[in-house]
């Protein structure tokens, strides 16, 4: 017999709220994309080609991988303390990936053409080709894994191991899709895929922490004992560790960028002077402090705050990396400013909203109907 989650109070509200949010955001975004096209985006041929919707896709995909890897701590690496969140992480990983794909689909010129043009093209030199292949495998394995767990079958270590390999391949390729671009100096770097992994682990931990509280009325006391034990012991430890690892990369990545005189890296100076940069590092540092400090790391409110701060900071981080890497103009002549200006349009924000609300709505469906707190017996 499985152990069901306790309170449904918050998740009861979560589903209608997220569905309404999804309908509003996707309705607006679709109406604009279908009537005006991508002219309703702030992206342009002489400016930023990949804007906020791509940032949203990368953030959600990255979070999805992080969630799957957190789940793997229990299901693959055998740490039973993580069992209370394995099913939830797996479902949320599917939800965030579907949300990310949706944001990407709204950004593409011909999303349905992709379904036949990529398989028939077989352009194996393209990172984007492999990204598609690996994410398709990831989604299939996640769905299979969830189905098995939901059926009460917690065996299948091989499936879990294959899933972990596919997740790392997919996210690594996503990072490489940027990191391989030598013509974009602010993106280029062999360590970029690894940095995506570090950010993914932090984002996945934050995302599952936040959603666990969402499902339990934002109150640790309403959690079942094994889950409460996890949240009071291992959760803050793994959260602090992942934040520390990512912060280390963050500090040296930005310090290197600001220090360098190389053409194309001017954007680091601009970014270091922006309010978003300060919001990002303060968010990460405060979240790390809250999770590392023995006086706060077990407190529910502090964990919620740390999760929210980390997710916002990591989203800003993806934005600054992806958009920032395009702000130094290529061959465009004297009349182009030193750095391109880009402010996302309302339609782009709605695409972001649609991706996030869809992920949360799918999560809420699982939370209400699929007993995401299940654990194996024995």
């Amino acid at each position: 017999m499985n152990t069901a989650v306790g309170s449904k109070a918050t998740s009861g509200m979560l589903l209608p709220v997220t569905v309404i949010g999804l309908l509003v955001t996707i309705g607006y975004a679709l109406s604009q994309v279908l009537s005006v096209g991508h002219a309703s985006f702030a992206t342009s041929s002489d400016g930023v080609s990949w804007g906020l919707p791509v940032v949203t896709y990368v953030f959600l995909s990255m979070t999805s991988t992080g969630l799957a890897l957190v789940a793997a701590l229990g299901s693959v690496f055998g740490n039973r303390a993580y069992y209370p969140i394995v099913k939830r992480c797996t479902w949320l990983s599917i939800a965030t990936l579907v949300g990310g794909f949706t944001a990407l689909a709204l950004e593409l010129g011909h999303p349905f053409r992709m379904l036949w043009a990529i398989p028939t093209g077989m352009q194996m030199q393209s990172p984007m080709f492999w990204m598609g292949v690996f994410y398709l495998i990831v989604l299939s394995l996640l769905a299979l894994k969830f189905f098995k767990i939901h059926s009460g079958d917690w065996s299948g270590k091989l499936l879990g191991q294959a899933s972990v390999v596919a997740e790392i391949a997919a996210l690594g390729t996503l990072g490489a899709a940027f990191g391989m671009m030598a013509m974009r100096p602010a993106w280029y770097g062999t360590a970029i895929p690894v940095s995506f992994m570090l950010a993914a682990m932090a984002a996945g931990t934050a995302a599952v922490g936040f959603t666990i509280y969402l499902s339990h009325g934002m109150d640790q006391e309403r959690m079942p004992t094994p889950l409460k034990g996890l949240m009071q012991d291992l959760f803050p430890k793994i959260f602090a560790a992942t934040l520390f690892a990512y912060l280390t990369f963050f500090v040296f990545h930005n310090a290197t960028g600001v220090w360098s005189n190389a053409e194309g890296l001017q954007v680091f100076e601009d970014y270091a002077g922006s309010a978003f940069f300060h919001l990002e590092w303060i968010g990460l540092v405060v979240a790390l402090y809250l999770m590392a400090n023995p006086g706060t790391h077990r407190q529910g409110n502090m964990q919620i705050l740390a999760a929210v701060l980390a997710l916002v900071a990591l989203f800003i981080g993806r934005y600054e990396y992806i958009v920032g890497g395009q702000l130094v103009p290529l061959f465009k002549g004297t009349w182009v400013p030193e750095l391109i200006q880009y402010t996302p349009s309302l339609t782009e924000w709605m695409v972001t909203g649609a991706g996030l609300f869809l992920a949360l709505a799918i999560y809420a469906i699982g939370d209400r109907f699929l007993n995401l707190g299940d654990q194996p017996q024995g």
């Binding site: 002219a39 010129g109 671009m181 005189n261």
Partner: protein
């Protein structure tokens, strides 16, 4: 099969932008979306200019990033876009170091939006009074009025050069036998600063110029190996990587 390439003599180029206008008319480009652009630079106290078509690279990064093979290299060395396969992911625009690609659905670069002024008929995204004959349209090589949701670029006037007789070394507007097959920008260049020919033919004018006048490729360190060569001479220079300068 020829391997087409272009030579641009910067000492002859006057920056008149006739090439840009000819390209606009020949390829029905939207205002501001210049497949063939002329960039202007401040260098010292002088204003300098630099004509910039697609480089039709030997190792094109736009081809290798394209997940659908919509961007591909033809046997004649040109790089073109198959509009029937393009999904509008814009990865090629990201990967092109020269900034020569254009996405159809972006906000207009020049107001008013000509797509609104000259609305399309379903197949075509817009229908201007001046336009390329529909008989020349070839979406598999990115020739014609650009459809929605795809990326476009200079084709070296593929609809012209692909009809050239086999074995010709150069496509020259002064030669009646090759005039009609010469790219519009080459044909219209008033000071005759542009040359177009077979890079694999040792007797071609382009090869002769590259050898005698030290033909230089743009951003050669990136490894894309452009098939467009510039002759800078003593009075001109190839501009730096970017127009922007650190610290303003």
């Amino acid at each position: 099969m020829a391997k087409w390439g272009m030579v641009i003599d910067l000492e002859k180029c006057t920056g008149c932008q006739a090439c840009s206008s000819a390209c606009q008319m020949e390829n029905t480009r939207m205002p501001g979306e210049n497949w063939q652009d002329v960039l202007f630079y401040d260098e010292g106290k002088d204003l300098k200019w630099f004509p910039r078509p697609c480089m039709h690279c030997e190792e094109p990064s736009c081809v290798t990033v394209c997940p659908t093979r919509a961007t591909y290299k033809n046997d004649d060395g040109t790089v073109t876009v198959d509009w029937n396969r393009c999904i509008g992911c814009k990865y090629c625009m990201i990967a092109c170091p020269y900034g020569v690609r254009f996405y159809m659905d972006s906000k207009p670069l020049v107001e008013p939006d000509v797509r609104t002024e000259f609305p399309g008929d379903g197949k075509h995204t817009w229908k201007p009074p001046y336009r390329q004959p529909e008989s020349q349209e070839d979406w598999t090589h990115g020739v014609g009025i650009q459809p929605a949701g795809v990326v476009s670029k200079c084709t070296f006037c593929y609809h012209r050069i692909s009809q050239a007789p086999d074995g010709v070394a150069d496509l020259d507007e002064d030669n009646p036998a090759t005039k009609e097959y010469t790219p519009a920008c080459v044909r219209t260049c008033p000071p005759k600063a542009r040359y177009f020919g077979d890079l694999d033919n040792p007797d071609s004018k382009v090869n002769q110029l590259i050898a005698e006048k030290s033909g230089t490729r743009l951003l050669d360190h990136l490894g894309n190996k452009p098939q467009v060569y510039y002759l800078a001479g003593e009075s001109t220079s190839i501009p730096g990587a970017r127009a922007s300068k650190r610290g303003g």
